[in-house]
């Protein structure tokens, strides 16, 4: 499995709705959609379930004011 680090949710612009996960995959900056068919999303959720990865909540500065 690829290496996933520094995972954090982010919002759809001007909302507080999670849109995806920003994460480094093998060291490269990436955005993973919240799609249960996406392989990276499947891998991330597996790591979260196993306690090997934590996804930080979205930054409030991205939320609607």
């Amino acid at each position: 499995m690829k290496v996933y680090t520094n995972a954090q949710y982010y919002y759809i612009p001007n909302t507080t709705i999670n849109c995806g996960i920003k994460v480094e995959i093998n060291g490269f900056e990436s955005c993973v959609p919240l799609d249960p068919s996406n392989t990276d999303y499947i891998n991330i959720m597996k790591l979260v379930q196993e306690g090997q990865l934590t996804i930080a909540p979205a930054s409030q500065r991205d939320a609607a004011s």
Partner: protein
């Protein structure tokens, strides 16, 4: 041209090629990019793949240790076997002694839509034949494994390379399994693993040429390419087809093959040129905008978005962040385009170009919907 028909091999043409079943008359190959022509990620360059990283299109490296192989389209520029122009070359980077849990392989995961007719996992499972050209600096027995998409059962088999540094044609017939989990839609149907070296946990632990629970990479005594510094493993012409006879490799036009690959991965780059534009967007504030980008073909699923880190003037409009901001729906298919959110320096209500800055280094956006 003459041909012969008999009850065993089907139709035999006068160049000694066979077509055993009616299925041979249509598109046959379930492997994509089996002749290793498409290399969107690296454009022929060498990489040291990490576990799970793709090399040339559709071919994924699996390795329990880092930095043990380099992978490159047409590595070392040897002459491909007759009829082919490309191959995937892997070269061992050290004389690594495997430990029990080690695994090293190059694999392709086949989408369920493309194998659903095989009936695998049922009592009506069809026999298939895997054929390919392979060349190695080592001789002996090499491991190969087919696995269900659910990764619960596998079919370990093997082949022999008798002459070093010589292209060898291999044909292996695999009985269809009645067990296992095989997607029939856009999940993983079948995995095909070409072994490059395994530890004792995956060596000789299951019966060869039989479907069993668990995973076995190779028989006892097989070659571990990873254990010889500079050892090579070159492969091309990989074909998986219905029936018990290997037919000639099914060539596609380059455009068709590229489109097949782009269902799983597409990459946009500036080719190291300044101001190359990827998409045009709207600015909804002085700091935020979004741009729509359409894919060449609908992707397998909503893709992962990778990109050059937007710092140090990589992108125009002083972009400081990028993300996926949505997947606009277009009729029944929502996987044919994407909205990319950008944070930068904009004019509210205006437009902006998602573009490389005035630089001569590589900037890219890529989208992966690999299995």
């Amino acid at each position: 041209m003459s041909f012969a028909v008999n009850g065993t091999t089907g139709i035999t043409f006068n160049d000694n090629t066979n077509m055993a079943t009616a299925a041979s008359l249509g598109p046959r190959n379930r492997i994509i990019n089996g002749n290793m022509v498409v290399d969107q990620r690296n454009n022929g360059g060498s990489v040291t793949p990490t576990n799970g990283q793709y090399t040339i299109d559709r071919w994924q490296y699996s390795g329990s240790q880092t930095s043990k192989f380099t992978a490159q389209q047409n590595a070392a520029s040897i002459t491909p076997t007759s009829g082919f122009t490309n191959y995937l070359g892997l070269t061992s980077s050290s004389s690594y002694s495997v430990v029990s849990s080690d695994y090293f392989a190059i694999e392709q995961k086949i989408e369920g839509f493309n194998i659903a007719d095989l009936g695998w996992g049922t009592s009506n499972a069809k026999t298939v034949t895997l054929s390919f050209w392979v060349r190695s600096s080592l001789t002996g027995t090499f491991g190969l494994t087919l696995r269900d998409g659910g990764e619960s059962v596998c079919f370990p088999t093997n082949y022999t390379i008798s002459s070093a540094n010589t292209w060898t044609y291999i044909q292996l017939t695999i009985t269809g399994p009645s067990t296992g989990t095989y997607s029939s839609t856009n999940g993983t149907g079948i995995e095909v693993w070409f072994g490059l070296g395994y530890g004792s946990s995956y060596t000789g632990n299951l019966t060869q040429n039989t479907w069993s629970s668990g995973f076995c990479g190779q028989p006892s005594g097989a070659q571990n390419i990873v254990s010889t510094n500079g050892a090579t493993f070159y492969i091309t012409g990989v074909q998986l087809e219905v029936g018990s006879v290997a037919t000639p490799y099914q060539f596609n036009t380059y455009s068709d093959q590229l489109s097949q690959c782009q269902r799983y991965y597409v990459k946009y780059t500036n080719n190291s040129l300044p101001y190359v534009q990827f998409a045009i967007g709207r600015c909804y504030s002085t700091t935020g905008g979004s741009a729509n980008l359409y894919f060449p073909v609908p992707m397998r699923t909503q893709p992962t978005f990778g990109y050059t880190t937007p710092v140090s003037g990589n992108f125009d409009y002083s972009l400081s962040a990028l993300n996926i901001s949505g997947y606009p729906s277009n009729g029944s298919n929502s996987n044919n385009n994407i909205s990319i959110g950008a944070t930068g320096s904009f004019t509210n209500g205006g437009a902006f170009a998602l573009a490389a800055a005035n630089i001569s280094t590589l900037v890219y956006l890529d989208f992966s919907a690999e299995l």
